[in-house]
Symmetry: C2
């Protein structure tokens, strides 16, 4: 391994400069005006993988954005096969005015690289690409077979990946799947994530009058769609953090005592948590700690709302409609399809006869918890410890990676979530960044991991 690690050390400047090229593409998957950039980004990735020695690399078109796939199977049939998943698409960047540097002009400051997609997920994905390069350039081979699957729709619901996986099961068959798209509990504390929440995301639109009408002429006589929607929103969750959608908690599996005890040992600092967010008080489900509220309990949040006049100054209308984006984070064994059905029916039932209500399902994904004593997890723990020189802790995570569940169901491949992000990375927010120690360490850990798992 030492020669490989030496190569990684020697190539630091090159690796960083290549990452910068990768980050410059505004690969925002959820907004169709970036479609051409998505294609350019996927083509760049294909060329890059070819250059480091990956075989059969190409883009696979979908009804949405292309999937990039390539493989190196030179370890032979008796060696283990690892499917490495990542995504080259990124979140939208608004509000743009809050960025300190342009989101697609990567900027290095205080040992961090700032750009949309640095931590989520281009930077983490690139750790594996550079680790594979290190093996191939040093010894001309890897101790495991690797299959690289990089999608372009993770931030838009991964709508076409399931279909791709089902149609290409043989090509994608593997012993383990590896996803580097999670974050550590704290800086300097290498972490394995063994649980993810699922998601169910809808948009609800409330329509009152068939046009915007004058609030003087009609005010007092008709229901206002914004006010009806506001009332409906208050019927979804009470002020004690308890979700009031019927049957919402039916299938929730409580966390074990062992898990809850483990969480208590983590260096969670509520004062720092509040200060980082700039909030005076937290608020969540009564009877649970903050870590439990975000990792092992489901949640419901409004992600956006719009209705009526939102420009400068005053406009005296009762708007025709108002709409809201609502998402729920789910825990085992909640079923997204059932949850979507329940909330849609509930919202329609809440609607008074003065308005029309439309509910649209935007996307969903199942929750997941993986076994902490599997071969894959053990290898990841060893790799992280060796790469960063520190003990490894376990955590669960509030976010969702629906694809991890799919790998389990369709490919029967246990998932390993070895991430390199940090809480301060501001993913999904302005000024997203990635710590450079974690980028370079992530390359080392990935390279060591291939070695570790090949020995198990």
């Amino acid at each position: 391994m030492q020669k490989i690690l030496d190569y990684i050390e020697a190539q630091k400047e090159n690796h960083l400069s290549q990452l910068i090229d990768f980050l410059k593409f505004p690969s925002i998957s959820s907004d169709s005006k970036y479609n051409a950039d998505m294609e350019k980004c996927s083509n760049w990735l294909v060329e890059h993988l070819k250059n480091i020695g990956i075989n059969n690399v190409k883009t696979y078109p979908t009804a949405g954005h292309p999937i990039v796939y390539g493989e190196w199977l030179g370890a032979g049939k008796d060696a283990k096969t690892l499917l490495i998943y990542g995504h080259y698409d990124v979140q939208p960047v608004d509000p743009l005015s809050l960025w300190n540097s342009a989101p697609f002009e990567p900027t290095i400051l205080n040992n961090r690289i700032y750009a949309r997609g640095t931590a989520d997920d281009k930077g983490q994905l690139f750790c594996h690409v550079k680790a594979i390069e290190a093996h191939l350039k040093t010894y001309g081979k890897l101790p495991v077979n690797v299959k690289l699957l990089f999608e372009g729709e993770e931030e838009a619901g991964s709508n076409h990946l399931e279909d791709f996986i089902i149609k290409n099961k043989e090509m994608l068959s593997c012993d383990f799947s590896m996803i580097s798209d999670t974050e550590w509990f704290a800086e300097g504390l290498p972490t394995i994530c063994y649980g993810l929440r699922g998601i169910a995301y809808i948009e609800v639109k409330v329509t009152g009058p068939n046009r915007d009408v004058h609030s003087g002429s009609f005010g007092g006589a008709i229901d206002n769609p914004i006010q009806v929607l506001a009332w409906m929103i208050t019927q979804l969750k009470d002020r004690y953090g308890r979700i009031t959608v019927p049957n919402f908690y039916d299938d929730v599996v409580p966390a074990t005592n062992d898990e809850r005890e483990n969480f208590k040992k983590l260096p969670y600092n509520e004062a720092a948590y509040k200060e980082d967010l700039g909030v005076g008080e937290l608020n969540g489900e009564t009877g649970y700690s903050t870590l439990e509220r975000t990792w092992v309990r489901p949640s419901l949040d409004l992600n956006g709302i719009v209705g009526g006049y939102t420009g400068e100054g005053a406009k005296t209308i009762i708007p025709s409609w108002a709409s809201a984006k609502i998402s729920m984070r789910l825990v085992p064994n909640q079923k997204p399809s059932q949850i979507l059905k329940n909330i849609a029916a509930y919202l329609r039932k809440l609607a008074p006869p003065t308005v029309k209500v439309e509910v649209q399902e935007l996307h969903s994904g199942s929750p997941l918890v993986v076994e902490r004593d599997s071969i894959g997890i053990k290898s990841a723990v060893a790799a992280l410890k060796a790469a960063f020189g520190k003990d490894v802790v376990f955590m669960r995570e509030g976010g969702s990676i629906p694809i991890v569940v799919l790998f389990g169901e369709e490919l029967h491949a246990p998932a390993i979530l070895m991430g390199f992000g940090l809480p301060a990375d501001n993913i999904h927010s302005p000024n997203e960044s990635l710590h450079l120690d974690n980028f370079f360490g992530g390359i080392r850990a990935s390279a060591i991991f291939y070695d570790e798992i090949s020995k198990q």
Copy 2:
């Protein structure tokens, strides 16, 4: 009068074509990107008034948009003096996609002229301009002195008119003020409006975390500003239409029995009202009819709301903030300044310690009821009856014209509200229009009114 009416009849094509020129200016006062258009529109109006024989016409700059003022005082010191008020600014046009023709390319269809500002208020203002022209071109004089005051900020709160009036009391001194900016109860039913609701308009912003954060990582642990704002909105009005802001109804003067009986005689058709709006049911304050709810009872409406991600697709954030525009329509003797103070204090009190709340006052105006048996109202009734050949009815109106109150307070001039709009005009909405019979009839009625009031 017959010669004057003949002139008006002969000039129909010219008058319409001049109105079209006036309507082409996108004079949207509440959006600063139309500032240059506002200036062009005011200059056009100045030139037009000069051409018909109005004296001392010019624009008076304000900190906002210019005021156009001119006068014809040839009737002499013993004649009555009439201050004619109108506004050349218009409402914003969004949502633009719902217009059947471009809002600033006037289009004639089915005896109506379609454009933003046709009814509110360029078309109505222009009736007076053309009526004055008819007198001056026919006999070289008017039976009354006229002062024309056309402002450019009515749709943005008339922020600088009060100051202008107070500073120019002598120039503006008059016996009556005339405002043509109201509508008839129904097509073919000439109407005098004797009451207007006041207004109090605020914007409230709720801020939670100091940035948009990932709804997976933080969902369940912190309050969501959209949900807090939604809850605050529900605390302003109950489902029975009763406003729950403390002390809101303290100063409300109930309508008289005579008024309520009069309203019952008007041809109000609830089925047609609902069908026009496209709503299944109405909803308003228990114990009051629709006309009472909109004319003699105060109301509270959300005019706009925005927060979080409102673009295409799904974005998984808890937004940093959400804001709403809230306006109340007031009736005598509610005081806007007190109402603004009460709602701001109430909103701040409602806010939980998890968020920050900012309340901004946008504008306000007092409610008004004028005596139905005054000389001015009697002359207007006679003029409408002669011009349209039909009996005149009385109504109150749900909208607000704060300036009418100001004329009473500062100039001691009773207001006459002789409007020519119709309920189907879609003011403040897409596809605003003005019935051409009401435009031409409005010119006749204005011309006759000057004659009638001069004889009283």
